[in-house]
Symmetry: C2
Subunit: 192 residues, 2 copies
Amino acid sequence: MKIIIKNCSQCGSDRIDFAVPSGDNKKRYICKSCGFIHYQNPNIVSGSILEWNNKILLCKRAIEPRINCWTLPAGFLENEEPLETGAARECVEEANAYSDDMKIFSIYSLIHISQIYIMYYGTLRDGKHSPGLEESFDTKLYSKNEIPWDELAFPIITENLKLYYEKGKPTSPYTGIVDKVNNEYIITRNTV
Amino acid sequence: MKIIIKNCSQCGSDRIDFAVPSGDNKKRYICKSCGFIHYQNPNIVSGSILEWNNKILLCKRAIEPRINCWTLPAGFLENEEPLETGAARECVEEANAYSDDMKIFSIYSLIHISQIYIMYYGTLRDGKHSPGLEESFDTKLYSKNEIPWDELAFPIITENLKLYYEKGKPTSPYTGIVDKVNNEYIITRNTV
């Protein structure tokens, strides 16, 4: 999460400093009135690649950002929610889709937006899916040759689909980094 | 992160509602003056099991919580930081320790404190370590029989050391859940 803090969430003061707290080595938003430090850390996104008869389930986004683009079901992990539960919940919310054999697929650090993206893979239960209310306009099973590469929502979605087709199911999860430099996405796959 | 929001971080108003925003299904702190929604999501902790001559590196904590207890080097991932970099940074900050072959070891969801704990394992470079300024009182290499099980800082540290000795190095990372119910820790290992 990266948000500019203008007022203290605890005492309401607008005397906010952006400075390195004592004993720390990174700038934080510090309240000069009550001393409260507003820490900000990366968020986790979890989701899934669900397969049925050699086709992969994609969702057409009904919300910004990237409305109308196609994505794998994925979203922010919630407080008090296990990772696997978050990934499964997103499949239901976005595509009314379930899986009984989800395993970890990839872990990527999206450093330009401070997100850790953890994807699973599994079989779509009974091949059933439909657009999730509010979140998706459409859901569809795509074969490899039908994937709408030019209409995918985010570079990390493209990367996960490429990994799936190029490398198949992993023994240990694929890992890597996505960054954005001079408005261009740089994707680095870890080799270790 | 779980913090009670008393004032809006954007407009300073103390008219804060804890309610489900429109189109959402979870309670958030919403500012009734400017409408800003204060989302809160799990934090990521990353760290490492570093080995040298069949001994594991532990650090004696110099900071609360659990000051004076022994821990594996680990800490909160920072914004714009790749996961592996965070784990390596914590080894340096807490134990002036480096590794050249870190691989993923475990991913646990600590749901009672909304943390996702991602641990790596590797060889301690040259066997060198020393207490990190501010963070550790002491660092020490422990053999299996010497591990101070009763003086470990957190249940997730105990769990990772147990996994390492009981199951060895993983093909795919070990995963599981830690929860706290009626003041007792419940640890569940995933089997899939």
